[in-house]
């Protein structure tokens, strides 16, 4: 593959990846819509429910079809072949972080679905999404910090100057978000105690999501080839 061909393949691959990401987001939103519908027990308006269910189903279908159309193909295989191992490992990390921010979105919706229980003070009924929020945010932070098992084995490929710089910036943002969330939770705990677990879970998720997205976006920005 010569230089010109490689450029063209990279451009195509970039467009394909954008389509693929868009398809995943659409698919997730569809799941989220249907999930929120299932979580709300008493439906006030049957017609509205139908509309949400239909829109969710269509979104899932469209997302799935679009994802199938833009699945990794010939370009990806050829580009992978000339990619160094380090590039591949770092790209996987970026993809992982983008995917995890989608999981954060799903969890936020789940907690909103359970918020009736939380706000009524029945915390024990909403333990599962809260635990999931804690787990998801810790996994993300571990990935960003490269403390998880997979990253530690790959440390010599993942932990370079650029990664450290990006990590510092992502962590700074995440710290501010978390600090703001904790302050908000403190305010909530004084004036509206039932909101405290909700606010805490949201701030954990928001800060982890901010770290993941910031890291992934900076990483993509930094590698000029449009990864």
């Amino acid at each position: 593959m010569d230089e010109h061909e490689k450029e063209a393949a990279l451009a195509r691959e970039r467009r394909r990846r954008r389509r693929y990401g868009f398809a995943l987001v659409v698919f997730t939103l569809g799941i989220v819509g249907i999930g929120a519908l299932a979580a709300s027990e008493d439906s006030a308006d049957a017609q509205w429910d139908m509309a949400v269910a239909a829109a969710g189903g269509v979104a899932m279908l469209v997302g799935a079809i679009l994802a199938w159309i833009s699945k990794p193909g010939e370009d990806r295989r050829r580009l992978d072949a000339i990619m160094t191992y380090r590039d591949r490992v770092q790209r996987n990390r970026t993809i992982q972080l983008f995917t995890m921010s989608l999981v954060v979105l799903i969890d936020v919706i789940m907690i909103i679905g359970f918020s009736d229980n939380l706000l009524a003070g029945r915390v024990s009924e909403a333990v599962v999404p809260l635990l999931m929020a804690v787990t998801v945010s810790w996994i993300i932070v571990m990935t960003v910090m490269e403390w998880d098992g997979g990253s530690r084995q790959m440390k010599k490929f993942l932990d370079d100057e650029l990664s450290r710089h990006i990590r510092a910036r992502a962590t700074g943002l995440a710290f501010i978000v978390l600090m703001a969330g904790a302050t908000l939770a403190l305010a909530a705990s004084v004036w509206a105690p039932n909101w405290t677990p909700l606010v805490l879970a949201f701030s954990l998720l928001a800060s982890a999501g901010a770290a993941a997205l910031r890291f992934a976006l900076l990483d993509r920005e930094a590698s000029g080839d449009g990864e």
């Binding site: 809260l130 945010s137 510092a168 962590t171 700074g172 600090m179 105690p193 405290t196 805490l200």
Partner: protein, 233 residues
Amino acid sequence: MSNSDDQAIQRVKLERRRCWWTALALAVVGAVAMVGGAGFAMVSGAEGDQATAAGVATGIGFALTLIGAIWAWSARPGQSITVAASGEGARRDKLERARTQQLVMLPVVLLLFMAQAHRAMERILGGDHNLGAYVQVLLPVLYGWLIPLIVMGWDAHTRKNRRFLEDELTQLMRARSMILAFVVLMTGLTVALGLGLWRAQYGVMALPYVLALGGASAGLRFAWLDREAGRDG
């Protein structure tokens, strides 16, 4: 005497004068608050919400007076100005040392305020919603915010002296201390959430501590790294 020496002397003079007047103003405001608070408490008796507010005013006034007096002493007029200690290199050293001292002092003060905030938090949870208790809880939170702002270099003073305080080493130390602070904060919040699920009161009690610890760990870690880096050999 060269032109730049003249400029350095002018700058030191200006700085000293500004510092002197600020310190005097601070001390006066503090003294007024102290006298006013104490006077009010004596007149109205030592019971109820107003007395608590008066006590808080007295305490803050005392702290302000003390800080103002120390500042004023360090900037008192009539000190000799050594030209060698006013140049660019010396200025950088001085600013960096001041920052490190600040980052040690603030967490220590913060942890002192924590003891007060703990009792105030108990009172608030007990249903005693008065202004003094809120102020006491707010203080460590404010300090917890102030320290990361200094570490990140977002406060007005650091921004003004950015060309002195912003170098490679600072960025490295900032990254490492923010990562530690973030992990501390996140662990603390997770624990607070867990406690909150078990006993809601404990979770709420833990929150000011978590905020304060998060801020304090950033400052102390930064100061520690700075000391390590500054050690010769």
